[in-house]
């Protein structure tokens, strides 16, 4: 569930307001968006990706955190960690080339694993 917007980093672009599929945020004139409907958050982390300045933190737990140390999360470098793991540029898709999911498909036994091994193009594996 979404936990906080880092107010010092937020540039008030309101991209999260539009992008959230469940409308968790409300825009605030001349201000940082507010978490108006946290209970609707489905923990999809997509607001983190759409944020161009890594100012949003979504906890991986479904239930709200009882005690959360914002500063510790910021210090631990967790803001923007999903974006970096995907290789996205700030607020923009990138880095799909680094997706190594093919390994889990090629691991299937029998014909399906064989089919996946033959599905990569333009290299010796094909």
């Amino acid at each position: 569930m979404i936990e906080f917007i880092h107010t010092e980093a937020c540039i008030e672009c309101d991209k999260c307001v539009a992008a959230c599929p469940d409308l968790v945020f409300d825009a605030v004139p001349e201000g940082v968006p507010m978490l108006a409907r946290r209970e609707d958050c489905q923990t999809c982390y997509l607001c983190e990706l759409y944020c161009p300045v890594d100012a949003i933190y979504v906890s991986p737990r479904l239930a709200p955190e009882q005690a959360l140390d914002q500063q510790a999360i910021i210090n631990a470098g967790l803001l923007g960690s999903y974006r970096r793991a995907l290789g996205w540029a700030p607020g923009k898709p990138a880095g799909a080339a680094g997706d190594l999911s093919y390994r889990m498909h090629e691991d299937f036994p029998g014909g399906l694993g064989e089919a996946w091994k033959r599905s990569s193009r333009g290299n010796a594996k094909a």
């Binding site: 959230c20 599929p21 923990t43 793991a85 190594l100 999911s101 014909g111 033959r118 193009r121 290299n123």
Partner: protein, 555 residues
């Protein structure tokens, strides 16, 4: 102040996940003017957006690859599935992936630099499709849930709904007249909590049922998926590498997993069977799974973590609207694509998982879009002259006009929990019995009969608050209607068959069902009608010869 948006177009698409996007793009390319409405935001909406979805497809001119892909479906779904249909779906998917390449989509690469097209990263893929939609001139209405179809005497003629307020957009209503409509609203997971399913409340089933549509295979819906106990992300593939244990550290064999969890026992998983190479593949391929562990500071490859099950209904299950090969429903002018459609011909009584379901969104989206554009041309200019009316509106939104506030004595939350209490528990919906299903259906029928007494959720007394209460009530009605369709179908199939387990009828192996394969069809709203029909196709052998492949490519 409320805004009213009135539009007319050739094709209206309801739902902006991959199926809706492909339908809109295809209809647009065929020359139709297209409006796409989505309950959320096109780009983040639906079950695909937060995941990295596998996509199955057939590589041209490689009989071994073809046989491997189709063979995996045959193995899980025989004798129910139609292998030639699997090929048709996977061939169409290959063509769509070629289109994505042509439009500049960035594909994963293996360590040799080879391109791999078997995964579509949700956030990248859907934002890419959104840009394409905008570039081709499809009109998008975000945060605009549909509430009812519009009907003319010759078929479906549009839909109406509401728009939520966000940013500078005010709350309001919309009314879109169209010569054809594509329903692409996804499956129904009854708000069980699995990531990506929050908005998948069966709205399309309700709207289509109101218009008189027929459904098929809704008994193949007892799909539950594993997630960390306090997390929400259900991704089954990593559990191929897992060992399971109970609270005492005793090994739990996989077939006993569901029984133990149903009995309230704690079960733990550890991904100890993945070697370093595969573990790196998981981590670099599916970072959303590992966010949970990274942020909790734990290592799922070494340290056991508690798991639970989420009900996923038709999001990864199988049944849905009955459609023709062109993805037209039994209602003229109404087409359908993606998870809202029955996938029986592709996956049989088995789960559609990620790979086949993702292919289905590609293929059915393309076919539904093309067929809707054809229908729009046939209707042509007479579309504008048609007398259009609301499909009889049974949702609480309109009945509330006739019901005094004092008579609304069932709190929203209570009604919602009553639906979940029937649908979510493993003992009711995974380990099914005739007795349990009948009791569940009686409760759901009672809830349906008293739906006008459900008091809307309390919301701010603003236009958006009113819209929101209306949407929540519509979703609740959709969940009740969907659950009744599911349970009616499940009662009618008196045998156990993969995704439909009847404790009172023995499980027959998929390869040798007790009865010849047949379909359970269901339709209706207040009174549901179900009937049995013989398998609607003759399972044909898959093509494996290059000559046959060439034939498909030129067809």
């Amino acid at each position: 102040m409320t805004m009213t948006t009135e539009l007319s177009c050739d094709v209206l698409v309801i739902g902006g996940g991959p199926a809706g996007c492909w339908a809109a793009l295809t209809a647009r390319e065929a020359g139709a003017s297209v409006v796409l409405v989505d309950k959320g935001y096109v780009g983040t909406s639906g079950a695909t957006a937060p995941t990295n979805s596998t996509v199955h497809y057939i590589v041209p001119d490689d009989a071994t690859q073809r046989l491997g892909m189709v063979g995996s479906r045959v193995k899980e779904g025989q004798p129910f599935i139609d292998p030639s249909w699997v090929e048709r779906v996977y061939d169409q998917t290959c063509a769509n992936l070629d289109r994505l390449t042509e439009w500049g989509y960035e594909w994963p690469r293996n360590e040799l630099g080879g391109e791999f097209r078997g995964n579509l990263r949700g956030p990248d893929y859907l934002q890419f499709l959104r840009r394409r939609l905008r570039k081709t001139g499809v009109k998008i209405l975000d945060h605009s849930p549909a509430l009812s179809l519009l009907q003319a005497n010759d078929g479906v003629a549009g839909a109406r709904g509401v728009s939520r307020a966000y940013g500078r957009h005010a709350a309001g209503t919309w009314d879109v007249r169209a010569n054809a409509v594509v329903m692409a609203t996804g499956g129904c997971a009854f708000r069980s909590g699995a990531t990506g399913t929050f908005n998948l409340t069966g709205d399309g089933y309700l709207m289509a049922a109101q218009a008189g549509a027929t459904f098929s295979g809704l008994e193949f819906t007892s799909n539950y998926a594993i997630a960390p106990a306090t997390g929400a992300l259900t991704k089954g593939i990593i559990y191929r590498s897992a060992s399971f244990s109970d609270a005492q550290g005793q090994a739990v064999p996989r077939p006993q997993l569901f029984r133990k969890l149903a009995d309230g026992e704690r079960v733990f998983a550890v991904l100890d069977k993945a070697g370093d190479y595969l573990a790196e593949g998981y981590r670099q391929g599916q970072p959303n799974i590992f966010l949970y562990f990274n942020r909790m500071g734990s290592d799922p490859f070494r340290v056991p973590y508690e798991i639970r099950l989420f009900y996923e209904g038709t999001v990864r299950g199988t049944g849905g609207l009955l459609t023709s090969e062109q993805c037209e429903t039994s209602v003229p002018g109404l087409f359908a694509a993606g998870d809202v459609v029955s996938k029986e011909r592709l996956v049989g009584p088995a789960a559609s998982g990620g790979g086949p379901a993702s292919s289905w969104t590609n293929a059915s989206g393309t076919w539904a879009g093309a067929a809707a554009a054809r229908r729009a041309r046939e209707v042509g200019a007479r579309g504008a002259e048609r007398v259009v009316h609301d499909v009889t509106d049974i949702s609480g939104a309109s009945t509330s006009k006739d019901t005094a506030a004092a008579e609304k004595d069932i709190p929203y939350r209570e009604a919602f929990e009553r639906v979940q209490a029937q649908v979510v528990p493993l003992d009711r919906n995974y380990f099914r019995t005739g007795e349990g299903l009948r009791a569940g259906l009686a409760e759901l029928d009672a809830l349906w009969a008293t739906r006008h007494r459900i008091a809307p959720e309390a919301h701010a007394d603003t236009p958006d608050g009113q819209v929101r209460a209306q949407v929540r009530l519509h979703e609740l009605n959709a969940m009740i209607a969907s659950a009744r369709l599911f349970f009616t179908s499940a009662l009618a199939r008196e045998e156990s068959c993969v995704l439909h387990r009847r404790e009172d009828f023995p499980q027959s192996p998929a390869s040798a069902p007790a009865l010849p394969p047949y379909h359970i069809h269901v339709s209706g709203l207040d009174t549901l009608r179900q009937w049995r029909v013989p398998l609607a196709w003759t399972p044909a052998a898959p093509r494996t010869q290059p000559a046959a492949i060439a034939e498909v490519a030129t067809a």
